[in-house]
């Protein structure tokens, strides 16, 4: 914060205020990439399968990334330990699902969904509690110091990973899908696994809930205002610190939910999964523009699609496909596709 910004209303910061009309171009990238991939993939049915799978994967990534990007936008905190909440949520879900095996192995869909719902709620509550503790112990003492934030949250993530190894053991744990969610539904030649349909539905629910909270409620208004100008919100008498803790905890809960989705997607749990997903999330939120929820959604869908297409066309390059996408996007818009924060 420099003095000039406070003095003049037409400061350079005004550039970062969200434009009135919505910028559709980044959104159009998603169908553009999908169409571009069509001739490369060849067969339309394979293309449809890949596209739907990519969108489903993107939705899962979005669920986990949304919390992180809001926390960054609101409080300028970059949490390298975010992956911990993902892994923790997934492991808690695994623990909850284990005794419910009678319900998950039943062929009736509703029993499966109830069991899964219990696991998701448990994972979100557990991850939220962990997030609250993490904020209090790890993040709070280092507000405003990026270097220490990176080091401390990374350290917290490492401690968490070791604790997971102590509680659940260092080896891989299988996390089978509930019976009715296995297999795929075919449309003509294209097929879409049932679980991915569920993932897309949950992803849309989360996005809708987030969009509604952010755009239609007072809390959402404050969060958005805080992302754009924290000091002004504080000056108007709102305790942004409490708001931030709330966002941090909510973001951790979403990460826990995302962890469940990711664990079921991979069908196994490893203690290192947090860091693995974290890498993907970082790419997504940089692409989306740090602090932007819409950007995180767009970025997640783009990454999901590109990873799936490249994984099919050039399997060796999968690891680098998301990084390649990131480079291309940053060349186009160095602040991400939906720049929000002027920091």
């Amino acid at each position: 914060m420099t003095e000039t910004e406070i003095q003049s209303p037409t400061s350079p910061r005004a550039r970062f205020v969200r434009p009135i009309e919505f910028d559709m171009r980044p959104m159009l990238l998603i169908p553009a990439i999908a169409l571009l991939a069509l001739p490369l993939v060849g067969s339309p049915s394979t293309w449809l399968t890949l596209t739907l799978a990519g969108l489903a994967m993107g939705m899962i990534i979005f669920i986990t990334a949304s919390g992180l990007t809001l926390v960054f936008g609101l409080m300028d905190v970059l949490n390298f330990g975010h992956g911990l909440f993902i892994a923790f949520g997934a492991y808690v879900a695994g623990t909850v699902l284990a005794p419910l095996v009678a319900w998950t192995s039943s062929a009736e869909l509703w029993r499966n969904l109830v069991a899964l719902g219990c696991a998701m709620v448990a994972a979100m509550v557990a991850a939220a509690a962990l997030g609250a503790a993490f904020e209090r112990l790890i993040v709070r003492p280092v507000y405003g110091n990026h270097l220490k934030q990176i080091l401390i949250t990374m350290g917290g993530g490492i401690i968490g990973e070791e604790l997971i190894k102590i509680i659940w053991g260092p080896t891989q744990i299988p996390l089978p899908l509930p019976e009715a969610l296995r297999g795929a539904i075919s449309f003509g030649d294209a097929s879409l696994s049932r679980y991915r349909i569920l993932a897309v539905c949950i992803g849309f629910v989360v996005f809708a809930a987030l969009a509604w909270t952010l755009n239609r409620t007072k809390v959402g208004l404050l969060v958005r205002a805080g992302v754009q100008d924290r000091e002004m919100v504080e000056a108007l008498g709102y305790r942004i610190g409490r708001l931030f803790v709330g966002v941090f905890v909510a973001g951790s809960a979403l990460a826990g939910l995302g962890g469940v989705m990711w664990g079921l997607f991979q069908q196994n749990l490893i203690p290192q999964m947090g860091l693995q997903v974290n890498v993907l999330i970082f790419i997504v939120i940089i692409i989306g523009g740090l602090g932007s929820t819409t950007g995180a959604l767009t970025g997640a869908l783009l990454v999901g699609l590109v990873v799936n297409y490249v994984g099919f066309l050039f399997p060796a390059l999968t690891q680098f496909s998301s990084i390649g996408l990131l480079v291309a996007v940053l060349l186009w818009r160095p602040q991400g596709i939906y720049p929000v924060v002027g920091r």
């Binding site: 970059l78 990176i150 350290g155 917290g156 940089i286 998301s322 990084i323 920091r343």
Partner: protein
């Protein structure tokens, strides 16, 4: 004379000076002071890690940017030597060629990553290096034709530095063989590199880096292009990490993903820099020594404690040597809070009695 060798960066603390002298003498005579294969391995690892950690400190401590891809450059150096020695056969030529390619690749990668991420925000560098580093690690295990995959590569080094070469009768009970020559070769190279890094950080260029670390805006306003300096720091740091990797491969005559690319090494390096003291090359040296010794001998101690407490459920799994990283992580977090200047900073801050 000494002042010139140390680039005018004197220890500025009697205890620190004493520690450093002990360290240099100890490492210089390590093969004779503590004979044995394990002790020699520990000494060589200390020497190599001093270079690796100091090169990381160039970024973290002096420039104020965090890289999580530092082991990538370490690995590139190690793989450069390993791959060249495997494909071209053992010899000095293949060592030089491997190192040359590795240095070129490291510098290019660091340059590109730096230019892309530092252009926007220094924090991007941390996120992007994390992504690139982990992608690179999995690429190295996938390209098994070239890198040997998870098994890694075992190779031979030139005859004069391999264990089979003997050039005299044992001296003070220490065999005068190729391993000894190899140790002193690495020791000499590392000493040169550490002095070179001292020179860099105490040059006008190093001053600019510190100015950027302390106040980026002001440094830019004075007329130093921040991106250019930060990218140069990233390239230099990658260069030294790559050299350290080459030395590691030369010493081990083996390289695999776990020895040079793993995330655990990255965590170790982070921890050593923080414990030793960010922003001092001496901190890297002292931190690396303490850490490597603790890693090699304290884990044995933990194993003993673990056995005696094995009857108590719960305690055992917390104290087992496999959970070594848990304690390191705690130590790391606590030292960032309470001990931000590390050992060297604390020693230097302690006022000395005036005579």
């Amino acid at each position: 004379m000494l002042r010139r060798i140390l680039s005018n960066d004197m220890p500025r603390s009697r205890w620190l000076a004493l520690l450093l002298i002990l360290l240099v003498l100890g490492l210089a005579f390590a093969p004779f002071l503590v004979p044995g294969v394990k002790a020699m391995n520990v000494a060589a690892k200390i020497v190599i890690f001093i270079v690796l950690v100091a090169s990381f400190d160039l970024l973290l401590g002096y420039t104020g940017i965090v890289s999580f891809a530092h082991t990538m450059f370490f690995g590139i150096g190690a793989y450069g030597v390993a791959i060249a020695s495997t494909t071209m056969g053992p010899g000095w030529v293949s060592l030089a060629a491997g190192m040359g390619w590795a240095i070129a690749l490291s510098c290019l990668l660091a340059f590109v990553i730096g230019l892309f991420s530092l252009r926007v925000r220094a924090m991007f560098f941390a996120m992007i290096t994390l992504a690139v580093g982990s992608a690179f690690a999995s690429l190295a295990s996938q390209l098994s034709d070239l890198t040997g995959g998870e098994d890694g590569l075992t190779f031979s080094v030139p005859a004069i530095i391999s264990p089979g070469f003997e050039f005299g009768k044992p001296l003070f009970g220490v065999a005068l063989d190729g391993r000894l020559i190899c140790y002193y070769l690495i020791f000499g190279l590392a000493l040169l590199q550490v002095l070179a890094m001292l020179r860099i950080v105490n040059s006008p260029f190093g001053r600019v880096l510190q100015a950027i670390r302390d106040n980026e805006f002001r440094a830019e306003a004075i007329g130093y292009p921040v991106i250019v300096y930060r990218t140069m720091a990233a390239v230099l740091s990658a260069l030294f990490a790559c050299l350290a990797g080459g030395m590691l491969a030369l010493w081990l005559r083996y390289n695999g993903p776990d020895t040079s690319l793993s995330m655990e090494i990255m965590v170790d390096v982070l921890l050593i820099v923080v414990i030793g003291g960010m922003g001092t090359i001496y901190g890297a040296a002292i931190g690396a020594t303490i850490f490597i010794i603790a890693q090699n001998y304290l884990q044995d101690l933990l194993a003993v404690v673990d056995k005696t407490s094995g009857s108590l459920p719960g305690v055992a799994s917390v104290l087992s040597p496999d959970r070594w990283l848990l304690w390191l992580g705690l130590l790391f977090v606590l030292s960032v809070y309470f001990f931000p200047t590390g050992i060297v900073g604390t020693l230097r801050d302690t006022p000395e009695r005036k005579h």
